[in-house]
């Protein structure tokens, strides 16, 4: 399992826990004090990221288009911040 935390400058805290299988995300869970509207978007996003490789640009685009397509508003964080915390977790893995 990989664990990461990222405090968005001037924004909220995003934490992540996930597992990889053959280089792609097997399951992932975000927690934190951020806001997403509608709130149901978070578990949908988590399902949406299964099978993705951990690449900041690709993840960021994937999450941004998920937000756009669903009319999701993130407050205190951005699509890129969610991608960033995932990459940080891999970089900081022991």
């Amino acid at each position: 399992m990989y664990h990461g935390e990222y405090k968005v400058p001037g924004g909220k805290l995003i934490k992540v826990s996930f597992s990889l299988s053959e280089g792609v995300i097997e399951s992932i869970r975000f927690t934190g004090d951020f806001f997403l509207h509608p709130e149901t978007a978070l578990s949908e996003l988590e399902e949406h990221l299964v099978g993705e490789v951990v690449d900041e640009t690709a993840l960021s685009e994937r999450i941004a288009s998920f937000f756009d397509d669903g009319g999701v508003q993130a407050i205190g964080c951005s699509a890129n911040d969610f991608a960033h915390v995932v990459v940080l977790a891999v970089q900081h893995a022991p």
């Binding site: 975000f30 927690t31 934190g32 004090d33 951020f34 806001f35 509608p38 709130e39 407050i75």
Partner: protein
């Protein structure tokens, strides 16, 4: 002037407080309840966490159980809040989307609704400002936190205003390793968070804060608060939700 149903200061357990918000929202969705403003306290004292937070990441659940402190997950995002029975009053305001007080711009609507708290603090003699996204500060220190959700065509915003601050208790309830609760850390929190009694340097009664909130929201939002109560249907739904959702491990420990 808009008339808003006003449910005056009540005292409930955590699950009931959160269930009442949702019950009002569902009744409004069905056209069975008017826009509503309510103020309330938490008995026993409780910690509420944001809807996306991890319960065991944020809260020392064992400490809470041992000390009779409730824990509950909110339906709103944001951070963990310790609701001391003697130390704060929480409000909730529910308005239909499209109401003049809740524009589609969520950030703007926080500022509009938080003006009620700023005005309330002003009446108590505290110069406070809205601090985006969702806080109110006095003297640069946080004194109120707020959170909003929009579902079923209804906007719910709730928030706390600190009357008093027990930093040691807050650290015991929220998950900070015990070793870290050093004097330095307590000082650091006191530099970031304040309360009405701290800011004024005098004892302020709960009733003064209640009166200030009523006056502040009425004036700043230009609304007429009409005393009211929950319908029997709202009460029934609230009791059901308190039991089946907001007291459940499935909901409270969902993350």
């Amino acid at each position: 002037m808009d008339e808003i149903r006003f449910i005056d200061l009540e005292v409930n357990p955590a699950a009931k407080n959160m269930a009442i918000d949702e019950a009002i929202m569902l009744a409004m969705r069905d056209g069975a309840a008017p826009p509503t403003f309510r103020i309330y306290r938490w008995k026993p004292s409780a910690v509420s966490i944001g809807t996306f937070q991890g319960m065991t990441e944020e809260v020392d659940v064992d400490f809470c159980r041992a000390h009779g402190i409730d824990v509950v997950r909110r339906m709103t995002g944001g951070g963990a809040v310790y609701h001391d029975f003697e130390g704060e009053i929480t409000y909730s305001i529910l308005l239909p989307q499209g109401h003049r007080l809740v524009p589609s711009d969520i950030l703007k609507s926080y500022e509009i609704l938080c003006a009620g708290i700023v005005a309330a603090l002003g009446h108590l003699g505290i110069d406070a400002q809205f601090s985006p996204v969702n806080d109110i500060v006095a003297g640069g220190k946080k004194i109120s936190g707020n959170a909003q959700t929009r579902r079923h065509g209804i906007v719910l915003q709730h928030g706390t205003t600190l009357l008093d601050l027990d930093v040691e208790k807050m650290f015991s309830v929220l998950k900070v390793s015990k070793e870290k609760v050093s004097d330095k850390m307590i000082r650091d929190v006191k530099q970031r968070v304040t309360s009405i009694r701290d800011a004024l340097g005098r004892h302020v009664e709960m009733s003064e804060l209640r009166d200030a909130l009523v006056q502040g929201f009425s004036e700043a939002l230009d609304i007429s608060l009409v005393p009211g109560r929950l319908s029997s249907e709202e009460n029934k739904v609230a009791e059901d939700l308190a039991r089946t959702k907001y007291s459940s491990t499935e909901w409270n420990f969902a993350r």
